[in-house]
C-alpha cells in the first residue's frame, strides 16, 4: 500500500539532495535574479530615450525672448546639445552618431502666418530602432503642438491688443483661447511605482519559470544519459511515480527559493511592496511551478542530449520574454500570436504576481484557470511522452 509513496519519495529526496549538494547552483539561482533586479533598479533611467539634439535656427537670427521660449519648449522633450545655424555641421554629427536629432526652425514663422502660410519645422534623425523613431515622431509632434500654442497665444495677445485699441475688449485670456481644453491626470493608485518595483514581480516570475523549465528539461534527459532509466524500467517503478517524485522535489526547492527571493526583494533596500495574501501567493507559485515544470519535462522527454534540452529551455525563455507581456504588451500582438502568450505560464504569473504583490488584489479567475490547465496538460503530456519514449520496448 505504501510502496508507491515510498517510490515517489525516493525521487523526491534524491532530487532535493542532488541540488542541495550543489551550493554554487543554489547561490546562482538565488542571487542571480536578485542581482539582476538590483542592477535594473540602480541603472534604469526610464523608458523615454535621451535624444541629443542640434537646434538649427535661421541665419538671420531669432529674437532672444522667442529663442528662450523655443529652447524651453524643446528642452521638455529633447536634450539640446547646440544652438546655431550650421545645418551641414549638424548633419555631419548626425551621420557620425554624435547626436540623434537635428531640428531645423524655419525663418519668418510670423510672416508666413500673416501671409496665411504654414511653416515647417524639420526633424532629421538617423535611426534603425523603430521604437526610437516612434518616440522622435511623438515628441516632435508634442513639441510642435507646444510651439503652435505659443505662437497662437502670441497672435491672440496681439489681436486682443489691436482690438482693445479699437475699443473692443476681450475678457478671455489668450492662453485659454489658444488651448481651450487641457488634460488633467489622476492615478487611483496614488502614484505609479518605480520601474524596478513594477518589473520586480515579472523578473521573479521569469526566473522561477526559467529555473523550473531548465530543471525539468535536464532531469529526464540526464537520467537517460546516465543509464538510470534502464534501472527504472527493470525495477517495479512506474513513470508516473518517477515524474511525481521529481515534481515534488523540484517544487519544494523552487518554493524555498521563491520565498528567499521574495524576502530579499521585500526586506532589503529594494523594498518591493508585498500588499496581498501570502497564502494565495504560495498557491499561485505552486501552480505556476507545476506548469513550468511540465513544460520542462516535455522538453526532457523529446530531447536526445542535455545541450538540446538547454537550447529548448532557452527558446522558452526567449519566447516568454517576447510574448508574455514582460516587456511588450500582449495586446500589441495579433489574436493568433496572443494565443502563444496565453499558453505560457509566465503570462499568467506576471499578472498574478503583480496583482498580489503590488496591488494587493487577487489575480483574475482566468489566471488560476489557465495556469491549472497548462499544468494539467503538460503533466499528462510529459507522463504520456515519458512512457512512450522510455518504456517503449524495442
Amino acid at each position: 500500500m505504501f510502496r508507491p509513496i515510498i517510490r515517489l519519495f525516493a525521487f523526491f529526496s534524491k532530487e532535493v539532495r542532488e541540488i542541495v549538494r550543489q551550493p554554487r547552483l543554489i547561490l546562482s539561482l538565488l542571487l542571480g535574479p536578485f542581482l539582476i533586479l538590483l542592477l535594473f533598479g540602480v541603472g534604469y533611467q526610464g523608458e523615454r530615450p535621451k535624444l541629443r539634439t542640434a537646434l538649427i535656427v535661421p541665419a538671420q537670427g531669432v529674437d532672444q525672448a522667442q529663442l528662450d521660449a523655443l529652447k524651453k519648449s524643446i528642452g521638455l522633450n529633447f536634450t539640446i546639445e547646440t544652438v546655431d545655424s550650421d545645418l551641414n555641421g549638424a548633419m555631419a554629427r548626425l551621420q557620425a552618431g554624435q547626436i540623434e536629432v537635428v531640428e531645423v526652425i524655419p525663418p519668418q514663422i510670423q510672416e508666413n502666418l500673416i501671409g496665411g502660410k504654414q511653416s515647417q519645422v524639420d526633424f532629421q534623425y538617423n535611426q534603425i530602432n523603430p521604437v526610437n523613431e516612434q518616440w522622435i515622431r511623438y515628441l516632435a509632434y508634442a513639441q510642435v503642438n507646444e510651439m503652435n500654442r505659443f505662437i497662437q497665444t502670441q497672435a491672440i495677445t496681439q489681436m486682443q491688443t489691436d482690438l482693445k485699441n479699437r475699443g473692443v475688449e476681450s475678457t478671455i485670456p489668450p492662453e485659454v483661447l489658444a488651448a481651450p481644453v487641457m488634460p488633467t491626470y489622476r492615478n487611483l493608485q496614488g502614484t505609479s511605482l518605480a520601474f524596478m518595483t513594477f518589473y520586480a514581480p515579472g523578473v521573479m516570475a521569469l526566473m522561477i519559470q526559467h529555473i523550473a523549465v531548465t530543471l525539468g528539461a535536464l532531469s529526464l534527459v540526464r537520467e537517460r544519459l546516465l543509464g538510470a532509466v534502464e534501472l527504472f524500467q527493470v525495477a517495479p517503478v512506474s513513470f508516473m511515480e518517477v515524474l511525481l517524485g521529481k515534481y515534488l522535489g523540484y517544487t519544494l526547492i523552487i518554493g524555498v527559493m521563491a520565498a528567499a527571493l521574495i524576502s530579499l526583494l521585500v526586506f532589503t533596500p529594494l523594498a518591493v511592496p508585498f500588499l496581498g495574501s501570502i497564502i494565495f501567493f504560495a498557491v499561485l507559485i505552486l501552480l505556476f511551478t507545476a506548469a513550468a515544470l511540465g513544460i520542462g519535462f516535455m522538453i526532457s522527454v523529446w530531447s536526445t542530449s542535455d545541450s538540446q534540452a538547454i537550447q529548448l529551455s532557452m527558446l522558452v525563455l526567449l519566447m516568454s520574454m517576447f510574448f508574455s507581456g514582460f516587456f511588450l504588451p500582449l495586446e500589441n500582438f495579433t489574436p493568433a500570436v496572443q494565443l502563444v502568450g496565453f499558453a505560457l505560464p509566465l503570462t499568467h504569473a506576471i499578472n498574478g504576481f503583480q496583482n498580489i504583490m503590488l496591488r494587493g488584489t487577487l489575480p483574475a479567475d482566468n489566471t488560476w484557470i489557465l495556469l491549472a490547465i497548462i499544468a494539467s496538460v503538460t503533466f499528462l503530456l510529459a507522463v504520456g511522452g515519458a512512457r512512450w519514449r522510455f518504456l517503449q520496448v524495442e
Binding site: 505504501f2 534524491k14 546516465l226 543509464g227 534501472l231 524500467q233 527493470v234 525495477a235 520496448v393
Partner: protein, 339 residues
C-alpha cells in the same frame, strides 16, 4: 542444446522433467534483430534455480541484447521467453521485485553518497524505511564498502563503483539476478571477489545470469553459453565444454627429458590414450589426451612402472586455462562455418 540441473547433457525426456520443475529462465527459439541485421538468433536455453549461468563471448556478440530481452527492455521478434514464469515484457510489479539488475555501466548518482544511492534503489523496490536498514548494511558489508558509506559515489574508484552497483543489485534480496559484465574493467583481485560473492549467492539458492568478456571466468559458472555473432554456439558445464574443446580430458605428465621419446612410444601404444603432445617450452613435459583422466592415471602409472629406467616426476589431471578452451571452441565454430 539443453542442460540439466546438474550440468550434464540432458536427454529429451530429462528436459521435459526440467520443464516440469519450472526453470527460472526458459528461452525457446528467441530472436531479436536490429535494423542493421545484427541481433541475437535462435536462443534456446533453460536455467534451473540456484545456478550461475555465464554468457561468454566477444564484445558485440549479443550478450547485453540477451540480458535486455530477459529483463523486458527488448521484445523478442520471434520465439518464447519466460522468466520467473512470465514473459519479460509483461513483468508484474511483484515479479520485478524478485529481480536484481546490474547494468553494464555505472548508473548511480555521483552527487549522492554510497548510502544514499543504496537507499534510493531500496526505495525503488518499495522497501519500508524501517525494514531496509539491515539489508542495506548487509549489502554494504557483503561488498566491503561499509567504511565508504558516507562517501560521494563520484569519489569512489572504478572498482568501488562496481561494488556499489553490485550492492544495489542485492538490496532487495532478489531471487534472480542479471549482471551485465560486472567485472569489466575490474582488477583481477576484485574480479575473484565478485565471483566469490556470486558463488555465495548461488549457495543461498539464488540464480545468477552473468555476462562476461573474461573467458577465464567461465570456470566459476555452473553453466556456460558461448556466444558468437548473436548465436549460442555452445551451452554446457565448464567440464563438458573443456571436453568438447580438447576432445577429452588432459593428463599432464612430466618425465626426464632424456626419456621423452620412449614415453611417447609407450603412450601411443596404450589404448586409453588418444593423443600425445609435447611441450615446446619444457623438454620433459607431455600432454596426454584421454577420455577419462581419473580412470587412465592408474593405468598409466602401471605401464610406466614396467619401465624402471623411466622416472615420472609429475602426473596429474590438467585443467587448461579457459582462454585456450574458448579459442579452441571459436576455431571449431569458424571451421564449421567454412564447411
Amino acid at each position: 542444446m539443453q542442460v540439466s540441473t546438474t550440468g550434464s547433457l540432458a536427454t529429451r525426456s530429462e528436459m521435459t522433467a526440467i520443464d516440469a520443475q519450472a526453470s527460472v529462465i526458459s528461452a525457446n527459439n528467441v530472436e531479436h534483430v536490429f535494423s542493421e541485421g545484427v541481433g541475437v538468433f535462435d536462443l534456446n536455453f533453460e536455467i534451473p534455480p540456484g545456478t550461475i549461468f555465464g554468457m561468454i563471448g566477444p564484445s558485440g556478440c549479443g550478450k547485453t541484447t540477451t540480458v535486455r530481452l530477459l529483463t523486458g527492455l527488448y521484445r523478442p521478434d520471434h520465439g518464447k521467453l519466460m522468466v520467473l514464469k512470465q514473459a519479460p515484457i509483461n513483468f508484474s510489479s511483484r515479479t520485478r521485485t524478485q529481480i536484481g539488475y546490474m547494468p553494464q555501466h555505472f548508473v548511480l548518482y555521483p552527487n549522492l553518497t554510497v548510502w544514499e544511492n543504496l537507499n534510493f534503489v531500496a526505495s525503488l523496490y518499495g522497501m519500508g524505511y524501517l525494514k531496509r536498514r539491515r539489508p542495506l548494511n548487509d549489502a554494504l558489508e557483503f561488498v566491503e564498502l561499509s567504511h565508504a558509506r558516507n562517501r560521494l559515489s563520484s569519489q569512489l574508484s572504478g572498482g568501488m563503483q562496481r561494488r556499489l552497483q553490485l550492492a544495489c543489485m542485492l538490496v532487495n534480496s532478489p531471487q534472480l539476478m542479471f549482471a551485465d559484465e560486472p567485472t569489466a574493467g575490474v582488477d583481477p583481485v576484485l574480479r575473484a571477489k565478485f565471483w566469490e560473492h556470486f558463488r555465495s549467492l548461488r549457495d543461498q539458492g539464488k540464480t545468477l545470469f552473468v555476462t562476461t568478456q573474461y573467458v577465464g571466468e567461465a570456470a566459476y559458472c555452473d553453466l556456460i553459453a558461448v556466444m558468437r555473432a548473436g548465436r549460442i554456439i555452445h551451452l554446457d558445464t565448464p567440464a563438458n565444454l573443456q571436453r568438447k574443446a580438447l576432445g577429452g580430458e588432459i593428463i599432464k605428465l612430466v618425465v626426464n627429458p632424456a626419456d621423452v621419446s620412449a614415453v611417447i612410444q609407450i603412450c601411443y601404444q596404450h589404448p586409453a590414450i588418444n593423443d600425445v603432445r609435447r611441450s615446446n617450452r619444457e623438454p620433459g613435459l607431455l600432454y596426454l589426451q584421454v577420455e577419462d583422466a581419473a580412470a587412465t592415471l592408474p593405468l598409466l602409472f602401471g605401464v610406466l612402472g614396467q619401465h624402471p629406467e623411466i622416472t615420472v616426476q609429475q602426473a596429474e589431471k590438467y585443467a587448461p586455462p579457459f582462454d585456450d578452451i574458448f579459442i579452441q571452441l571459436m576455431e571449431q565454430a569458424e571451421g564449421e562455418d567454412h564447411v
